[in-house]
Assembly symmetry: C2
Homo-oligomer: 343 residues x 2
């Protein structure tokens, strides 16, 4: 079969790779209907060292079950399934607590294994990992179903761990696909004020449609001053940091209200957090982390199916497999917000 392989910074190729086969009785093999490129794929795209064998890419996809192992009982051949970005057994203590990203038998896609930017994928722990989409759904919903595999669930994780509730004031830092999903999630959870910090108008316009009440286009100190101005000087109770770079985190600390919560879901590209005596005196909490998408899909799926939310609107470009390298380029150049792949 064919799949995307990253060989180094800026070097994504479409290659013929081995077809996936059932290796364990808990596996399933999935044919990918839609996959996509993640903002986090852009980190290796910017910095990966050159590699001859390369690295398989893609961790968000919706597919059709083509084959199941002998022990798989929860999904059947022909089922359309949403595949969260980490596999999980669904039975260990972490899975039962809703922290499937820490599953005792979980694994990430890509690297040495199959990735979602390809034609097929072997899914381990199929019963725990996959969420079946009820038959007969509208195909137009595919982008929104796909969004549940990572980006929307990640935004929702930010809002949930940040404690967004009816009446909460929220700042969302970053107008990428995760930031916009965080806006939509904060709206869903009843936030009263949602200030979106970003400066790409097409994106912030979608943010407004997703429920942002204010958009702050200024960066750095000017942006902080503007958020303070919009909140009577106090900052917001919750800040959702959807970038992953240190300046975004510094902004988060600068716009959070005393006693407030910063929830970060942008994968940190830093190792140290500026969180010393001052923010201690303000009783600031830093939470968030990698999103256990599997935990949220059962909540969000009905809202996609009944049209309450349209998280798939973050996809603004579609490519086939051969178009994946160009998709990376366009996302890295910020010409595209998020690229959907139809293999």
């Amino acid at each position: 079969m064919r799949a995307a392989v990253m060989h180094g910074a800026g070097d994504v190729r479409i290659e013929t790779v081995p077809d996936p086969v059932i290796q364990h009785p808990t596996d399933a093999v999935i044919r990918v209907i839609v996959g996509c490129i993640c903002g986090s794929d852009l980190w290796p795209y910017a910095s990966m060292e050159s590699s001859e064998t390369g690295r398989r890419m893609g961790h968000e996809f919706v597919g059709v079950v083509e084959e199941t192992g002998a022990d798989v009982t929860g999904v059947a051949v022909g089922d359309v399934v949403i595949v969260p970005f980490v596999s999980s057994d669904g039975t260990c203590d972490f899975c039962r607590e809703g922290l499937q990203t820490s599953c005792r038998h979980g694994a990430h896609w890509g690297g040495d294994g199959d990735g979602g930017q390809g034609e097929r994928v072997r899914v381990p722990q199929a019963d725990g990992t996959l969420v079946v989409v009820p038959a007969g759904f509208d195909e137009a919903l595919l982008p929104s179903l796909l969004a549940l595999s990572d980006v929307m669930s990640t935004g929702y994780h930010a809002a949930v761990t940040g404690g967004v509730a009816p009446g909460t004031t929220v700042t969302v830092i970053g107008d990428g696909a995760v930031g916009l999903s965080a806006v939509l999630s904060a709206t869903l959870l009843g936030a009263e004020q949602i200030i979106l910090m970003g400066h790409h108008q097409a994106r912030t316009d979608l943010g407004r449609e997703f429920g942002a009440t204010d958009v702050v286009t200024e960066r750095g100190d000017a942006g902080v001053a503007r958020v303070r101005e919009l909140t009577g000087g106090d900052g917001t109770r919750v800040v959702l940091e959807a970038v992953g770079l240190r300046p975004a985190l510094e902004t988060a600390f600068a716009v959070v209200r005393d006693g407030g919560v910063i929830s970060r879901v942008g994968a940190p590209q830093y190792s140290e957090v500026p969180f010393g005596f001052g923010d201690f005196m303000h009783n600031v909490t830093l939470t968030g982390g990698v999103a256990p998408a599997r935990a949220y899909i059962p909540t969000l799926l009905p809202l996609v199916l009944d049209g309450t939310i349209e998280p798939g609107r973050v996809f603004d470009r579609t490519v086939d497999l051969d178009g994946v390298p160009e998709g990376y380029r366009a996302m890295a150049a910020r010409e595209a917000l998020k690229v959907l792949v139809r293999p």
Copy 2:
């Protein structure tokens, strides 16, 4: 009147200072019955630059109301009151939310103003700040009442913000007075396992009496390995960091379970926190902060009065005002756990 004044590292003197007087109609003047020396007083004691005017010290005390301003209605002359370590108006939004340390009209003791290591103190915002002890209490309870003004409330803040609840597993880092108060608080909130990390046997023995189920005396990597061993390899769901130094925080990250919470109440003597990609992938939360003692005293006071808790057991030495300099020396040398002052 006489009071303790710090003039530099290792230099605490008892001096004659102006008697406090009512300056605002919301003030009260308190005669101190018992005060004490805080672990946080030891930071300037170790590092303060030499100063001719010096700095008034002490922020935890119980006293008798001697005089009230015209607008004070909640306390009367003769009342015995617990004085939390920050003054607060009791009416602003932060106070109503229980975050009196961020009160819009609050202030800290000491520095240029009166401190609790002296004979008398002017208390601003008396109605909001002071908690009256019901008349007729047993004088033997004074140390425990005093502990509510800071150290016990600080340990309780750690446990509450850390989310300790029935069945929780907890590691407490530090066997100082705050750490022991955190152990007692975790016990009170129903923790199932409380691992106390510390290596002063007299202190860890008191920790066991306060409810610690395990004591880890090893430091560094060996201590981390021991906590992991005691928790099936996972670490504990909650870690209460009661030191304030970076190695203690590093230990906290090393012993917290995936999805767990570190609550820190040791005033940070660092500006950067090692909290990057790895702990993000483990969904670790860092919370805590300076404790709004005023918020907790109404909950804890009845438990002191009825003998449920004896937080005053952390005091293992008593001095008069002239003994305060020696009290600092003994605490800094770790000869005393916490020194009570009877002016």
